[in-house]
């Protein structure tokens, strides 16, 4: 492939994908730098600006796609998530603030409330006239929300609930919109009625009066300065016996009659809670997508800088070498770039599934819903960790310039950092993923409490049948066509690559099952250890699973490319993703004799060969992300090319002087 043989616009068509119209609308409607992050703001400046911009967002890029038409929306979850991804390219605070307002707060009112709540509040929520909070996490409980300590007890005498924070560990914490803007909150609390606990339910609770003062019984704290996301006003909420009217229970999945009688369409408490938590899935999908959007920006900056920035002269050359010509730089940036491409395809596949599941007619397909939740958890964890690592790499690849706020990277890094632990801690999410794989997404609500009942899981493990969501038949065909044996197959044989990752996933999962079963038999007196002793193995299974499904999504995505040159380039990027993934895991493949030592060494040469082949296309690959220059908001991209020209002229002048002297 020649460097100029591929039109980045053709690659961009493939990446823009199914919701390309949303991406194009965002690039047009949000053109310029009006909505772009501003470096070096104070906390107050950032909060003020983001609240203002939230209200200036065009509705179709903010709220509309999240809500049903009857409230002024046009419910299309795929479009909503894609719009959020575009906002993430402008300002991650703006994207998170929008996510809190419409995704979490508005989403909870829509999904957990009923007609009365919808009619009373959704219109003002969509217009951002009513700003609100999603008050689930407590200081003492983030991951294990099942064990929240806030209590809301019904009193039939007054027809109200008594909402109470029993101690500091039970206060709501890290709540977006709480410190400054929120007028109401969806508060999650343990419902008690007729003396009986009914598990966690959601209540719509006013927080502030029209002047912004906290209402009686409500104590509002400020989480203050954070590592990033300064534009989001995270805070703390405590309730001192606040009376909440009965109709403020968001009662779609659980109702309390005036006399205190509790009814629910879902009998099992844990199952009901899981159903309510299902509303969180869109948040996880959004966060994963936003992390990758930020990663693409960081890579665009670092790759473009590496195309002009020069350092150290090569022998026999006058001008210094551009950074992207160094193998070490290619190993840093191009491998991360290939993985970022892979995630872009995997994310689109996930968003498509989200759209299909959430807009399907008829009763919820629980198996499908669980699969969606598992895939969302998997890709949220994978993309956010990849973002943290890659943005750091890009920062370093830009040297001291990468540390200056004017070059955007510090903001991208600081803002995305929290993504690895919010909307679900990544390590906890990977365990959920593994659990889904082990139990075949069975309706296993009994072991809600983490992995406590390892015995249960061990007994329930299913036969190993790998799920495929992307282009099932294509991938089966490729795998079946791949030659067998540990040493067989060219490295670029797609079937061989797929088979290596599939085989690893199966084998690791089988190992976990074997050890859990053995543990269940031998560690009956130490039930915690049954699971805990294999926790590293469990996480490895989830990671192996993610690598496999992401590669499959990439392979399926290439099929969408109609332009032959774009398709050829994407195929090489896919090779780089697959081979660098196998290279990174060569310890496992050697240990399990899926690679011979000799072939393992050749693999490293193959990766280096691909880097050489892709090097001329580095700029094309980031151009294809289609990020407007104004959104990159990066000083060095504007200035560095001019400086390099100055230095080149400088050298020429010196050389001409020298030769004049020589004469």
């Amino acid at each position: 492939m020649k460097a100029d043989s591929v039109d980045p616009a053709r690659v961009q068509d493939v990446l823009d994908g199914r919701w390309g119209h949303v991406r194009r609308a965002a690039r047009t409607q949000l053109a310029g730098d009006h909505f772009v992050a501003v470096p070096g703001e104070t906390l107050e400046q950032a909060r003020e600006r983001i609240t203002r911009l939230l209200r200036e967002l065009p509705t179709d890029l903010g709220a509309a796609a999240m809500f049903p038409d009857e409230h002024g929306g046009a419910f299309e979850p795929g479009a909503a998530v894609t719009a959020a991804e575009m906002l993430a390219q402008l300002d991650l605070s703006l994207m998170v603030k929008a996510g809190v307002q419409w995704g979490l707060f508005g989403g909870a009112v829509a999904a957990l409330g009923t007609r009365h709540h919808h009619e009373t509040y959704l219109k003002e929520i969509i217009s951002a006239d009513l700003l609100g909070c999603f008050a689930m996490t407590e200081t003492g409980h983030g991951s294990d929300v099942h064990r929240l300590r806030t209590v809301c007890e019904y009193d039939p005498a007054t027809g109200t609930f008594d909402l109470h924070t029993p101690h500091e560990a039970a206060r709501k914490d890290y709540i977006g919109n709480a410190a400054r803007d929120g007028r109401m909150a969806v508060v999650f609390a343990q419902l008690v009625t007729q003396g009986e606990g009914r598990g966690v339910h959601a209540f719509l609770v006013p927080l502030r009066d029209d002047d912004g003062a906290a209402l009686p019984g409500v104590t509002i704290g400020d989480d203050g300065h954070k590592a990033g996301l300064l534009g989001v006003d995270n805070g703390r909420l405590s309730f001192d016996h606040v009376a909440v009217p009965r109709e403020m229970l968001l009662d779609r999945y659980g109702q309390v009659a005036p006399d205190g009688t509790y009814t629910s369409p879902i009998d099992n408490d844990a199952r009901r809670f899981f159903t309510m938590l299902g509303t969180l899935v869109r948040g996880r999908v959004t966060v994963g997508g936003a992390a990758s959007a930020a990663t693409r920006q960081a890579l665009t900056i670092a790759v473009r800088y590496g195309e002009t920035r020069r350092q150290f002269t090569a022998p026999g050359q006058d001008r210094e070498v551009v950074l992207n010509d160094y193998l070490a730089h290619q190993r840093k940036l191009l491998i991360a770039l290939a993985r970022t491409y892979a995630f872009t395809f995997a994310q689109e596949e996930l968003v498509t599934t989200l759209q299909e599941v959430q807009t399907a007619d008829g009763p919820v397909d629980e198996h499908r819903q669980r699969e969606l939740e598992s895939r969302a958890a998997a890709l949220k964890a994978a993309q956010t960790w990849h973002a943290t690592r890659t943005i750091q790499t890009c920062r370093e690849a830009c040297g001291g310039a990468g540390y200056l706020a004017e070059n955007r990277l510090p903001g991208l890094k600081a803002d995305t950092d929290v993504f690895t632990t919010f909307e679900g801690d990544n390590t906890v999410l990977l365990q959920l993923v593994a659990k889904g794989l082990l139990t075949g997404y069975r309706d296993n609500f009994e072991s809600l409490d983490g992995w406590g009942r390892g015995t249960f899981v061990a007994e329930q493990v299913r036969e190993m049948v790998l799920e495929r969501t992307a282009a099932r038949s294509l991938i089966r065909r490729l795998v079946d066509a791949a030659p067998g044996g540990s040493d067989a197959g060219a490295f670029t044989d797609r079937g061989w690559q797929l088979k290596m990752l599939e085989d690893r996933e199966k084998h690791v999962l089988e190992g976990v099952i074997r050890r859990l079963r053995k543990g269940a038999a031998t560690k009956k007196d130490r039930p915690f250890d049954i699971f805990n002793d294999v926790q590293d193995h469990v996480l490895e299974a989830a990671s192996a699973h993610i690598d496999r499904v992401v590669l499959e999504a990439f392979v399926a995505g290439i099929e969408r490319a109609t332009d032959p040159a774009a398709r050829e380039l994407l195929a090489r990027v896919c090779d780089l993703f697959a081979l660098s993934t196998i290279e990174a895991g060569k310890g496992w493949f050697l240990e399990h004799e899926r690679l011979t030592p000799g072939r393992s060494k050749l693999l490293t040469s193959a990766v280096n060969g691909l880097l050489k082949e892709l090097r001329p296309h580095a700029a094309t690959l980031v151009d294809a992300f289609g990020i407007p220059d104004a959104w990159l908001a990066c000083a060095i991209l504007r200035e560095e090319p001019g400086r390099q020209e100055e230095m080149a002229r400088d050298d020429q002048r010196r050389d001409s002087r020298r030769s004049t002297n020589d004469e």
Copy 2:
């Protein structure tokens, strides 16, 4: 080992080491939180506070140890570096500001100037009445300072130099003390006299008048907001034909006579420049030590939090499980902790070498100096990357709380981030390390320009003789006593561990040599590729070298422990460091048949076994870092234990109610 069998104070004695008196003095003299970082400051607040605190530092913890007695100092480089490490535990901005003022600016005047400069300026520099800059880096050249573009040309007619910035890429950039405080700067520029370039030299140049206004011809810019280190006023300097008096050349290594005649005790330009750069070594040693100091703080916070914070209940238990009991958490924190211990010993060994080399009488031992520079580069790169990774891990291990500025981790992360690229970009430093290994630290100035002359290096490579600095004979004995063969030796056999890392280093280096020689023969028409094609292999060699010397330092350090329980604990931590390092590199060891697949799998079990064994000592291991609570400045450490008690009481009350109801 029982959990309470080790007194952390005995472990601390070993860690405090040779400059324990400096550490103890700092803990006493800087007690309380007066000097501790303040979260959430604006740029201006941070700069104002740090400048003020710089002047309040007790002299013996700031400047004194860096300068000779005749100027009010007590030259002891080891004490100076240790004091800087202690400052890093208070506030990394304060440490960097002190490093700029006394280490770089004052250090350059002391090392590159002569009596006249010393007598005129050092006193005011030490007292911080004269604040100054070290203006080496330019916008266009950071790593390759040999190619700086600022020019300083001597004019015998006026007896002055003409200092000039020819274009924007030549402006000085990222210069500490420039944006706000610096009155003078040591400016590095290409000296031209009698029409001839003499290479880079240093000039002492006034920047501002007494009112702080820039002097004529000097343009001062502000680098503005950065990812971290807000208290350091980094800026930009440009010179428009500024006249610099002849005596302001710092002329220890190069003199210009009134008529413009140039003389130098060192003939070779490159060699002279290298000698001048030798003054930078203390900065690199300091940055590596500061990175580890910050790492120890982050680990202290995360491990202590993990000792009280609970999440998810174990089967059959009422209270939730503390985070440190999870294997996944131990894999995150304890392995990082073991490596941090290892670096603490390696750093002390390096500081000792620094002290010995810089205080030795008689002529400079060039081989020793090169070895010191190489080791400083190696440990700077290793410790700063370890800091970036580990502080991030600690942030995530504290969940949302880790993202709040009040819990210190965001500041530690943001401030240390730049360490991976300043005082030498880590990737460039690792190449220097490898080059030293390949050439036996030979006086190889010809290939100053990066690795351009790959052929030269390939021809010069020496026989492989590994250098040892720590307890040579002990380590030789242990290695010689280790059983041979790939499968032999218990995992905890120290000799086997040492041999594995030593063997890998030798083998990787030999591989690089072989490939460079082959490249030199076959790629004569592509000289750049000779080196570039093996760049990943070169970096691998440097990493393998670092792992080996760090393990040797740890092994030697354990010998200093006199308390048997402390010694036993350190030995287990050393096992964890060695085995987790081998585990992380198992791909290589399997590929090169130093581990069989079966033994490789057992290795993972051995690491998990060590984690179980060390788990009860986690708190002891961070207590032994001896960081005063006030210096940790972390809200969750004060609050979390109380919250957990509240929740436990809460549970008890509920349970007692429940049993009352049951009766």
